[in-house]
């Protein structure tokens, strides 16, 4: 994406976000802007605060302080009903483990249709049609629409979770290690698919990963975290090809050895 054509107003602005667990720092203070159609990668070793940050942004965790500005308002001050509605409509969240993001006892079609029904869809035929269409878009045979997710492979489950999240056309998608538990070849296919969907739908994405290959492929911009803090940020290629911070240099060099 050519960011010089991006509209100048951020879709999401984060200011001075801090989350502690008792005396231990989870993350923060963190501030950044995300622009429409932009994919922001958050990288860092295990325990660096990536998941804490993402959970605070997505409303799964209450931060100690800070603001998360969306369409002019602070999401953190929204009433719970409105916040949950946002999470089901304009926002979406893809969990690392598809079991956390899917209803394992419900068919693939029911999983994809849930957000539609939650938004008021009441025409079975249309819900099913949309579900079939979305299964196709994430490369699952629509003929398996009535199968339960447990009959699917890990990669298929993750693609199903993505379809379930994107079916209502969200604007902002959070992803926590979406390729985490998958084989390398399966990861590559999923990344290709994600990249295509992000482009087609013009999604804004915040993606957390410890895998630099993932962000190299997907992210326009990177934030490197260590010990709860952002130690470096910038355009992905710049950060990866010319890392300034010693920690980033270490991260990059260790991936090159792989």
């Amino acid at each position: 994406m050519d960011l010089s054509h991006a509209p100048s107003l951020p879709i999401l602005s984060v200011r001075d976000l801090v989350k502690t667990y008792g005396t231990r720092l989870g993350c923060g203070p963190i501030s950044f802007d995300l622009y429409p159609g932009e994919v922001l990668g958050i990288v860092g070793e295990s325990g660096s605060g990536k998941s804490t940050l993402l959970s605070c942004l997505a409303g799964h965790l209450a931060p100690d302080q800070g603001r998360v500005l969306w369409q002019g308002g602070d999401v953190l001050t929204l009433a719970e009903a409105a916040r949950r509605r946002l999470l089901r409509s304009d926002w979406a969240y893809v969990h690392q483990n598809p079991r956390d993001g899917l209803r394992m006892g419900v068919s693939a079609g029911g999983n994809v249709g849930e957000r539609l029904m939650g938004a008021g869809a009441r025409h079975y035929g249309e819900i099913r049609e949309k579900a079939e269409d979305w299964l196709g878009r994430v490369e699952i045979d629509p003929g398996r629409i009535d199968d339960k997710p447990r009959a699917f492979s890990g990669g298929m489950q993750q693609r199903l979770q993505i379809a379930r999240n994107l079916v209502t056309g969200p604007k902002l998608v959070f992803m926590d290690e979406p390729t985490g538990g998958l084989d390398v070849s399966v990861q590559a296919r999923l990344l290709d698919l994600l990249r295509g969907l992000v482009r087609q739908m013009g999604l804004s994405v915040i993606i957390v990963t410890h895998d630099l290959a993932v962000v190299r492929l997907l992210a326009h911009r990177l934030m490197v975290m260590k010990g709860g803090h952002v130690v470096e940020q910038g355009l992905t290629d710049q950060v990866l090809d010319d890392p300034q911070h010693a920690y980033t240099q270490l991260l990059v060099s260790s991936v090159l050895q792989v």
Partner: protein, 281 residues
Amino acid sequence: MTSAMTLAETSFNFAYLDEDTKRMIRRAILKAVAVPGYQVPFASREMPMPYGWGTGGVQVTAACLMPEDVLKVIDQGADDTTNAVSIRKFFQRTSGVAVTERTAEASVIQTRHRIPEAALTEDQILVYQVPIPEPLRFLEPRETETRKMHELEEYGLMHVKLYEDIARHGTIATAYAYPVKVEGRYVMDPSPIPKFDNPKLSGNAALQLFGAGREARIYAVPPHTQVVSLDFDDHPFVASKADHACDICGSATSYLDEVITDDKGGRMFVCSDTDYCRGGQ
């Protein structure tokens, strides 16, 4: 119910429960009436019968009964099943109220699995025995989450259940405990009545009270409350019954049980509401 019979010799408070307990249950009932379809927690008591026998309904009935009441108890529409007979006897012994099998004569009707065919009046209370009060439980096992869904009116999941039904069976196969929305607000499990009875929930003149003993919940549909069965635009709710007339009374409109009459495949259809069958048509 032998335990109730041995207890019969001893002396009871009217309708078995002590007055404090009845007051506590009445408060829960009043709250339930004030918020139609909302499940009110209450301190469910041990009753001298197993949970499967409708201890929730029994506690609600006990809290409602007055000495001048006339009680009818039905199970699957019949007054003479073991469950109905035992509960009726229990209240006869513990309260001395008059009992009846006639729907029209009863002021309190405790029921399992049916709504009487005859139209009820504003002078009647219908008490349902409820095994599982939470309609969302099937897809969401976490109680904290289902409460939140009710609070925030997040009912998409209820339609997921109906979606799954159609996906699997080609039609909404749910035949009992068919989910409803009460007065445009709370989604409610009407207890395992056949969906044929669902239309009678709506606009009913009687006060309808639902008691779940094991799960300790009471909820209510006050008189003349709107109750709508959930469905899809292209799969509308249908209050179906066996396509037959009653082989005893000839009624073409009452809900029928299929009865096997011999071991050669003989069968007949008869009204499930035995009082209606006797007096009907």
